[in-house]
């Protein structure tokens, strides 16, 4: 009898999804849908938070006050995006503290791109242009995700993210049009970030184990390879316009398909970085752990102060 009920609930659930009716926190949902969302949204939240680290490194070395103010605003946005997303995870019944501890223990992942170091000022431009550009491409379809709180968080994030990409492209453009040394710095940065940026869309469709189910549930609207192709198609002309060369000998516009053909991605590198062996994995997680441990007394003091005030008010 119970079996039949679950089947019926699942049928009704899928019917809602098929009719583009959003799922809200208290609605019935299959356990696997809940777990998929907890995994995806928490990874997304972790990526926003860890994404602050390579940029934080450059706040004190920004070339002028305007750039510094912009960089600070961008980093503050990333923190905000992380907070919207942690709240969305909580609506699924996940424990917030546990969610963060999963990042610290290595159980939860975050975007592999943040395991690459930001070595030059040009990297601040490249991260905005390519990394935020790729993130936007991923996030715009997520605004129509079937889970209401995630979709609403994405609407806010996307509105804010477009400034991130534009400020990045502005930095890169100025360098590309600057002295020969500045132009070389921009090109060198593009050479390092191009392939990791393409890897941000995740494994190729044939190796992506979650894609089919996530598309059926309308958590995802496009496959990894579709989004990657879209990113290449829009980004290559942006590089050409400012005189930078995309580091791919096989990159060529295909008149027949109307898309760019591009070279093979080094998937070994991708899986290595995902498995924790990228250039900065240890450093990033250690920085997050340290932030939690060293900030603990602040959170405890705030609790003690709140308790003291509540007591005083009651008496």
């Amino acid at each position: 009898m119970k079996e039949i009920n679950i089947t019926e609930l699942e049928r009704k659930f899928q019917e809602k999804i098929d009719n583009d009716i959003k799922i809200e926190p208290n609605d019935w949902m299959p356990e696997e849908y809940r777990q998929t969302l907890i995994r995806q949204i928490s990874q997304h939240a972790h990526s926003e938070i860890v994404g602050q680290l390579p940029e934080g490194n450059w706040v004190t070395r920004a070339p002028n006050l305007r750039r510094k103010a912009v960089l600070l605003a961008k980093i503050q946005d990333e923190a905000g995006h992380g907070l919207y997303l942690y709240s969305a995870v909580e609506t699924l019944g996940a424990d917030r503290e546990q969610t963060m501890d999963d990042l610290h223990s290595g159980k939860a992942k975050y975007s592999s791109i943040f395991n690459y170091p930001a070595l030059t000022w040009a990297d601040m431009g490249m991260i905005g242009w390519l990394v935020d550009g790729a993130a936007i491409m991923n996030q715009v379809p997520l605004c129509r995700c079937s889970y209401g709180p995630y979709a609403r968080a994405m609407v806010r994030v996307c509105k804010e993210e477009s400034f991130h990409q534009r400020q990045g492209y502005e930095i890169v453009t100025q360098l590309a049009q600057g002295t020969p040394e500045q132009k070389a710095m921009a090109q060198e940065s593009l050479d390092r970030w191009w392939w990791p940026a393409l890897m941000m869309f995740g494994p190729s469709d044939k190796d992506s184990k979650h894609t089919a189910q996530s598309m059926k549930w309308k958590i995802k609207r496009h496959t990894n390879d579709e989004l990657r192709q879209q990113f290449v198609d829009v980004t290559v002309p942006q590089a050409e316009l400012i005189g930078l060369k995309v580091p791919d000998a096989d990159l060529k516009f295909n008149e027949a398909t109307g898309h760019y053909d591009f070279g093979d991605i080094n998937w070994d590198e991708f899986w290595q970085v995902v498995a924790g062996h990228g250039p900065c994995n240890k450093e990033r997680v250690a920085a997050r752990k340290r932030a939690k441990e060293e900030g603990m007394w602040v959170r405890e003091a705030a609790n003690a102060y709140a308790e003291k005030r509540a007591k005083r008010k009651a008496s």
Binding site: G80, R96, R152, A302
Partner: protein, 95 residues
């Protein structure tokens, strides 16, 4: 290790004078005052608001989704509550 997690707050923002407060999201904060300060930073970085309400999430009482049929279905059959239900002769205006 701190075992006591900060409580959860729901944040409502009035985007400009004349409009009602609207749910913006939620956040964690030790007390109401810090919840408002945090809400300022998290939800109004681009002049999205002129006023903030914060409410402890556990104080919100919500309708149960499994009751939605009995709660909301009755009004679906009462089309006569909408002005478009009524026929008026052609040429009539201001109605």
């Amino acid at each position: 290790m701190s075992k006591k997690e900060w409580p959860l707050w729901e944040v409502f923002i009035r985007s400009k004078q004349g409009l009602s407060h609207k749910h913006a999201g939620s956040l964690r904060a030790p007390d109401a005052e810090m919840a408002i300060n945090n809400a300022r930073d998290v939800y109004t970085r681009r002049s999205e608001g002129v006023s903030i309400w914060v409410v402890p999430s556990n104080e919100i009482v919500a309708s149960d989704p499994s009751d939605s049929e009995e709660l909301f279905e009755p009004s679906q059959t009462k089309v006569y509550r909408h002005p478009t239900f009524y026929d008026v002769p052609d040429g009539i205006s201001h109605m």
